[in-house]
Symmetry: C2
Amino acid sequence: MLTFIGLGLYDERSITVEGREALADADRAVAEFYTSHLVGASVEELESYHGIDIEVRDRAGIEQHPGDLLDAAADEHVAFLTAGDTMISTTHVDLRLRAMERGIDTRVIHGVTAQTAASGLTGLQNYRFGKAVTLPFPYAHGAEGLPASVVESIGANRERGLHTLVYLDIKADRGEYMTADVAAAMLAEDWADVLGVAVARAGSPDPVVAADRLSALAERDFGDPLHLLVIPGDLHHVESDALATLGDAPAEVLGENER
Amino acid sequence: MLTFIGLGLYDERSITVEGREALADADRAVAEFYTSHLVGASVEELESYHGIDIEVRDRAGIEQHPGDLLDAAADEHVAFLTAGDTMISTTHVDLRLRAMERGIDTRVIHGVTAQTAASGLTGLQNYRFGKAVTLPFPYAHGAEGLPASVVESIGANRERGLHTLVYLDIKADRGEYMTADVAAAMLAEDWADVLGVAVARAGSPDPVVAADRLSALAERDFGDPLHLLVIPGDLHHVESDALATLGDAPAEVLGENER
C-alpha cells in the first residue's frame, strides 16, 4: 500500500489528523523536499514527532529510480510525504499511476496548499483567481527578462479582471528560495505601478501580508522564506478592505483596482 | 481572540493537528455549515471528538448579528469553524476585518479545500486551472438554462486550454446538494460531447472519480454528496493517463483534449 500524505505548509503540526494517523500506521516513510519543504520543522523533528524514520530522496531518487519504493509498497504500507499537498507535482501523480499499474493500493491524504493560504491570508476570493504561474530564477529560465508565458498568463488574467498567484522558484538543493521583493522587482519591469501582494511564511504563526505597487514591494524585506506573490485583478469591496487592513495597501493604489 | 479554523473536507479527522490543538485551547466554538458541511461527521461527533460544545449558526446569525460573537472574542478565545477553509467565503473575511477593527487578535488556521482535492484526485495539475465557477440550482438562479457568467468563464478557460473547477450549489438549510450527474446534464445542453470529470466525496476514504463526455456523466449515479465537476482543458500526457487510470475515461474522448 502506498499512501500519499501532504504535510501542509509549515511544521510537524500542519498535517491533518487523518494524515498523522496514517503515518503512524505506516511501516516505512519516504519524503521529497525538492519541490517545496517545511520551514518550521527539520526532518529530525518530523521523525521524532511522528515516531518514524523518514528517508529523504532527491529528484533522481523519485523520478528515475522509483522501483524499490514500489517494490516496498507491494509488501508493506509505505507513506510518501511532501510539503503542502502531494499531488501538486506531476511526478507524484505519475508515481501513483505506476503503483496502480502494479496492483498496489494507493490512497491520497490531502494537505493544505499555498494556493489556499494565499487566498485566505490576503482576503482575495479563491474563485476570482485565474491561472497560476511560476516565476523562475533568471539563471534557471536561461534568458534575460520575464518568461513570455508568465507575462502572457498574468496579462490574460488582468484582462479578465482575475487575480494571479505567482509561485516563486525554489532550488532546495542549492538552498535558494526566491523572495517576494526579488519577484516584485522582476515583475516591476513590465508592471511597476501595478498592485502586488507579498505573502511571507504562509501557514506559520507569523505570516506577513503586504500590498503595494510592485515597484514599492521590490524595495522591502519580508524576512525568512517561503514567499509568494499575488497580482490582484479587479477588487470586490471586501477584497479591497482586506488588502487595506491585512496588507496596509495605500488607498490610492487600491482605488485603481476597484470595480 | 478569534481563531478561524478550517475543518477540512470530510470528518472530525480532516482538521490539521494545529487546528485541533487550537480548538482544544478555545473557550467557545461557533460553527457555520450553510456554505458547506462535513458529510462524515455530525455536530455531536465533532463535539465529542474535540471535547467542546459547538454552537451552530445560520447565515443571519453570522452575517447580520455577529455582535455577540465579537463581544465574546474580545474577552475569551473563540474558535470559528467551517468545513474546508474558513476564508473561502467573503462573509468570513468580513468577520475577521470587523474583529481587527475592534482590536481583537485574529488568527487563521487553514483547512484542505475542495480545489486542492479536485486537483489531487483527478491528477489534473493545479496550475492549469483557470477561474472556477459555481453552478446554481435553476430555481436559485431564477432563469432557464445556464447562467451567462458560467458559460462565459468555462468558454474563456477552454479557449486558453485551461481546466475549470465547477462548484455545485449547496442549499444546506433545505438539505439540497447538486449532484455531478445533474450538473453534467445542465452543462451538456451547451457541451454534450465535451469531456467532464465527476468527483464525489473528495477527502473521504472512498472518493469516486469518473471521466467521460458530459452527456454520458449525466446518465450516471455517483452516490452520496458532496460532488464536484471539472471541465478539463488541454491535457498533458500524465493528466491524460491519470484520467484514464483514475477516472476510466474512454481513450477516444481523451484524445480530443490531448495537446
